[in-house]
Point group: none
Chain length 200, copies 4
């Protein structure tokens, strides 16, 4: 009957953030499939329509939740190597490990978004292209090259693309069991191939 502040401010959190956080948790546990606005509201303990006071539509909320999910996950994966420190091989190893873990966690969320292209557009609009692993990998490689620890004329962008692609493929191997490589190469072999190639 009367406006309630209820759950929204029990802990001084804005409803905006509460909704994003709730949706994020739902994404983390069940993906975005079957995630209805009513369900989100119910889990957040707020009214159905409150969403539209803070977001233009459901897509915006989901996109933000997705972004938050990626950020959160990435933040929990630990540190990435510093250029110039350790060995390049070891550092690439760490990057690969990081990338594989990241994609494994994020995949379910994105997978079910395939049918809701609008969300991905929003995601693209609100996400600033920095700080994500792919960019950090490229940056890392470029700095190592600048330091002389990689060949000056080497194709670091291509190498990054190959590594990122490998992560994607390993994720798809889980989604589509039959498409995966039967006998996946070891991380060491991957790093070795990226570093020294296969030419004589």
């Amino acid at each position: 009957m009367s406006p309630r502040k209820a759950a929204a401010q029990r802990d001084g959190q804005s409803l905006h953030d509460l909704l994003v956080e709730t949706a994020q948790k739902m994404i983390a546990t069940h993906g975005t499939t079957g995630m209805t606005v009513r369900e989100i509201a119910r889990m957040a303990g707020v009214a159905d329509g409150v969403l539209y006071n803070h977001f233009s539509d459901k897509e915006e909320l989901v996109a933000r939740a997705l972004l938050e999910h990626v950020r959160t996950t990435e933040a929990e994966l630990g540190e990435l190597p510093v250029p110039g420190e350790g060995t390049v091989a070891g550092n690439l190893h760490r990057h690969l490990e990081f990338g594989l873990a990241l994609h494994k966690v994020i995949a379910p969320a994105f997978r079910s978004l395939a049918t809701q292209p609008g969300v991905l557009e929003r995601f693209g609009e609100i996400s600033e292209r920095s700080g994500y692993w792919r960019d950090r990998l490229v940056t890392y490689l470029k700095e190592e090259r600048a330091l002389g620890r990689l060949r000056q004329e080497s194709e670091v962008d291509a190498a990054a693309a190959l590594l990122v692609g490998y992560c994607h493929a390993s994720v798809m191997a889980e989604v589509f069991p039959h498409t995966g490589p039967l006998d996946p190469p070891s991380a060491d072999a991957i790093v070795e191939a990226v570093l020294h190639g296969i030419a004589p």
Copy 2:
């Protein structure tokens, strides 16, 4: 009250095939997203219910359309290189081209799997085909290595995995336009990286 031979036989084509073809075109242009039964019927110029005279499900129709789409495109992909002939770089280039085109066709299947997991079942053949290229790539690389045109101790399995992964990723870049790399490396750069690595 209504035409009986309708569009189906305007060109001597069965309605079954007309529907598959229509769905195939829709997949090719817009993916499986938002592809409703009614829309398919409308685009085929037939009644809503026809679908169920020829397919048990919407899923069956979609799966068949997908399959047909893969077959059609695959037939246009041309030959893969023979080990020992031409240059290794050129041959890898050709393999990459083939793989990219192949995965581009497979992508739509990925989309529909999110909400229609049943499609995966009937789509088994596709994975075999996708696997087929991977195996041919590995075989090719191993034969080139045996011929001495690749380094003896090189990680050809890892190199193949990287290339396959790159194809997957490039496909996802189309499915999720905003998540892809802003400036994808050239095929030449990819081949260069695979051949010579990035180490000094």
Copy 3:
């Protein structure tokens, strides 16, 4: 492509009769629930549309099949007693037995027709009110009364209605397990009650 005589006349039977017979068998085994025209046609081995060459619509076919079902069933239940022969009690016993068996067989067919009132209207139109058990029971009782084996002023119509009702109720007791009498009286008791009443 060309008109077929096929199954219809394999045994010199008209399609009309084949369809009625097929529908009748379906009613006997599964009731009328979910009995689609396509299914009838398929089981009769004829084309979907042939029905409309012999019946104005599905309802007419089903009504005729129902009628046939009742006739057939009734014919298989054996003889009813002849007035004046045996004892009245024994004869009533036989009538009751007959009625219970009849209703037990017919019930499933009628039950699922409850939602298709059109069929019952047709049934009423085409069924001539004679030969059915209820009428034979009334006739029997009146003749016994005329013969002096029942009280002259007795309410034989009412007695018949009570007996018929008892058969209905015993059928419903099977359809709705919870509504049936927990401890149904014996046929002997029923006959006794009908014959001598309960008044002092």
Copy 4:
């Protein structure tokens, strides 16, 4: 774009109750046959989807409407006679009247059970009520017999079963209009038959 309080609160009635009442009226006038979700909504003057804000199913709504219909009518049925008071004939008359009215109300349930067996589940209460009258009738008869107002050795259970059956049959005569007896006996005749039988 559309009214928000709509019909629901025109008279201070909840939409839940409005829907039940609307469905109840439809049952009372036309039975459950052809009672579509859309038709219910249209007659209630509300949107198609409202139903699912208040009931899990169409079945739940129908079951509740049925139940309400039974309750309402049953409340109007009045008292049953007390053993030893009045005449037995008059009392049986009253019992018969009560039973007929009661079963008349139960009839629609019978119809809906054909295609919606799930309704039976939620309808358990009704059978208890129906059983209730039967038990009261048996009890009544036994007490009258104990009082000496019925023959000591009379089959009161059988008599009760006949009367209950008669009620069932009279209900079926309404559900299946064309199958009923063309010339139903009067209540007096029924009572007379039950009291004095038909034997000489």
